[in-house]
């Protein structure tokens, strides 16, 4: 299969940037839907895979050359983020893949839904909503898909901790509620 070039996309949308290490196009905020519609017009008719990736806040060590011309190691903090990744192919031209990434913060994670453009995102975006807690704007039917409706957390996040008891349901007893939150055994 021949490659699907990202160059025309970057030419059409100069504010998008190319992440060489990941081989993905980083979509600028609020432009995903427009880009997707443009891509669909170009024959990118098949969205294969949609998923999320959670990155925690991390300290990155970097070697830089300072003003005096000496090398030194600097530590900077990279804020946590969630990437929503789309793998796109063209069935018409039999080319691909082209990888799009929507970036969002970990608090109030939001992304634009591409379900109106590619129906194949429908269940997969619901899954990202369920497991990563990303709110998709414009999704026609955003509900939990694998976990049950009353579930409150997002298990695929890296900082997720398992509850003491999956079967546990809230009871009016506050003391037990507190114990549960601390992960203590309920007797």
């Amino acid at each position: 299969m021949s490659e699907l070039s990202h160059e025309p996309l970057l030419k059409e949308f100069p504010d998008a940037c190319w992440d060489e290490a990941a081989g993905a196009v980083i979509v600028p905020e609020g432009r995903a839907r427009v880009m997707a519609e443009w891509l669909l017009m170009q024959g990118v008719d098949y969205c294969s895979n949609v998923t999320g990736v959670d990155y925690l806040e991390a300290e990155v060590k970097e070697k830089i050359t300072n003003d005096a011309g000496e090398e030194e190691t600097v530590t900077r903090t990279e804020p946590g983020r969630i990437d929503v990744v789309y793998h796109l192919y063209s069935m018409r031209d039999q080319t691909g893949p082209l990888v799009l990434k929507q970036r969002t913060g970990r608090e109030n994670a939001q992304a634009e839904s591409l379900t109106p453009v590619w129906r194949s995102c429908e269940l997969q975006e619901r899954e990202v909503f369920d497991l990563f807690g990303v709110d998709f704007k414009g999704h026609p039917d955003q509900r939990r898909i694998l976990m049950w409706d009353e579930y409150e957390e997002h298990p695929m996040r890296k900082d997720y901790t398992e509850p003491f008891d999956y079967e546990w349901e809230p009871t009016p007893h506050d003391e037990i509620l507190e114990k549960h939150k601390k992960g203590k055994v309920i007797v």
């Binding site: 299969m1 290490a21 008719d45 990736v53 793998h87 590619w118 129906r119 194949s120 497991l131 694998l146």
Partner: protein
């Protein structure tokens, strides 16, 4: 098909309302724990919501907490009919992270195993499908008789009938035992006879024709847009087969055709699978003829610890495009591990296909999609 607005029909002062039926999670036609919330007007489906997640075990989180290789047996449990192709898809993705050359013999054996798996899957699908139509037992038993022969081959090669865990990064776990290839050839040579018999029995059967033709039609445009893959996509008239398009492994060396349908109804989906089995037999014959002697394991690192990279590997599984998306971060565990499940994504259009059909046909339509809940729920 667009269903009329059935919200509430008031006629002659009598109010009628729609009937809501929850089909499943324990219903013989749902092939596992799967539920369809159906709204009915008489017998006609006016709304349908698939509900799943009953078998959810967060497979992806499990995989992110263990080493790359330790996860190989878990991929067997995704689509438990097709453990060999699951293994292959995962191995293919992981081999994209590091440079490993797969030896010639291993490549041939991979193709043989994958095509045998396709036979197993399609033959049981056809059996279950006819079962859903109401032909209880007999055709399914015929199908399972053939499936059993192939499962015996798997058992000899890998030690397990269904959870094979046979592939490794860079090759296979072990070579096939002596005489296995001859026995495989025997099974493959007998298979077309069974197909002839089966086609004679089913393909022109009047009941099957009237129950499947024109039922659950899926248009070509919707099929592409909704990311439908595998036999279901090809039944809608798109000859998109990753064995041809990507030519992963050594599929470019084999002569085979890609059958596809015209109408995209249940009959086409059924027939595409019947025809695909014949093509698989063709591939198997060529592979069994061409298989060389030699190593079955390439030079793979003892500890699988890839450099930071991202990779998406996909194969043409019997149910559709099975993809694995891996992000390595330089540790022996994957930072992100994602399965692209064809069964789940093929369910996207279930509602579209069922609207306006009879409730009994909804069962047939679900059967023709070919889902496995181990993969849908993960």
């Amino acid at each position: 098909m667009v269903a009329p607005n059935y919200e509430l029909i008031a006629q002659d002062g009598l109010e009628t309302s729609l009937l809501e039926v929850s089909m499943g999670p324990h219903h013989p036609s749902t092939h596992g724990v799967f539920r369809m919330d159906v709204k009915l007007d008489g017998e006609t489906v006016v709304d349908l919501k698939p509900v799943f997640g009953y078998l959810h075990r967060n497979h992806e989180k499990l995989a992110e907490n263990m080493s790359y290789l330790a996860n190989m047996p878990f991929t067997d449990r995704l689509d438990y009919f097709n453990s060999m192709t699951n293994n292959w898809a995962y191995a293919l993705a992981a081999e994209g992270l590091v440079e490993i050359e797969v030896p010639e013999r291993a490549e041939y054996l991979r193709v043989i195993m994958a095509e045998l798996t396709r036979l197993v899957n399609h033959v049981s699908l056809v059996g279950f499908f006819v079962n859903d139509l109401g032909a209880l037992g007999t055709p399914l038993m015929y199908a399972f008789r053939e499936r059993e022969k192939i499962l015996d081959l798997f058992e000899e090669a890998s030690g397990a009938r269904m959870m094979c865990n046979y592939f490794r990064f860079g090759g296979l776990r072990c070579d096939v035992p002596a005489g296995w290839l001859d026995r495989a050839r025997e099974v493959v040579d007998q298979f077309p006879e069974f197909l002839d018999e089966y086609e004679k029995l089913l393909c022109e059967n009047e009941i099957i024709l009237s129950r499947t033709q024109g039922i659950g039609t899926l248009s070509r445009e919707l099929a592409i847009n909704a990311g439908i893959t595998g036999p279901m996509l090809r039944a809608s008239g798109v000859a998109y087969d990753l064995r041809k398009v990507d030519a992963y492994g050594i599929y470019d060396r084999f002569q085979f055709r890609v059958p596809y349908g015209e109408v995209g109804d249940c009959y086409d989906r059924f027939m595409v699978r019947m025809l695909e089995m014949r093509e698989s037999v063709q591939i198997l014959r060529q592979a069994l003829d061409g298989i060389p002697e030699g190593e079955i394991m390439g030079k793979a690192p003892r500890v699988f610890k890839p450099k930071p990279a991202e990779v998406y590997g996909r194969v043409e599984g019997p149910k559709g495009e099975l993809g694995f998306y891996l992000i390595a971060d330089g540790t022996p565990k994957p930072y992100r591990y994602r399965v692209r499940p064809p069964s789940l994504i093929n369910l996207t259009v279930l509602r579209d296909m069922c609207l306006g059909q009879k409730i009994a046909d909804a069962v047939v339509i679900l059967g023709s999609i070919d889902i496995v809940l181990g993969e849908v729920d993960r």
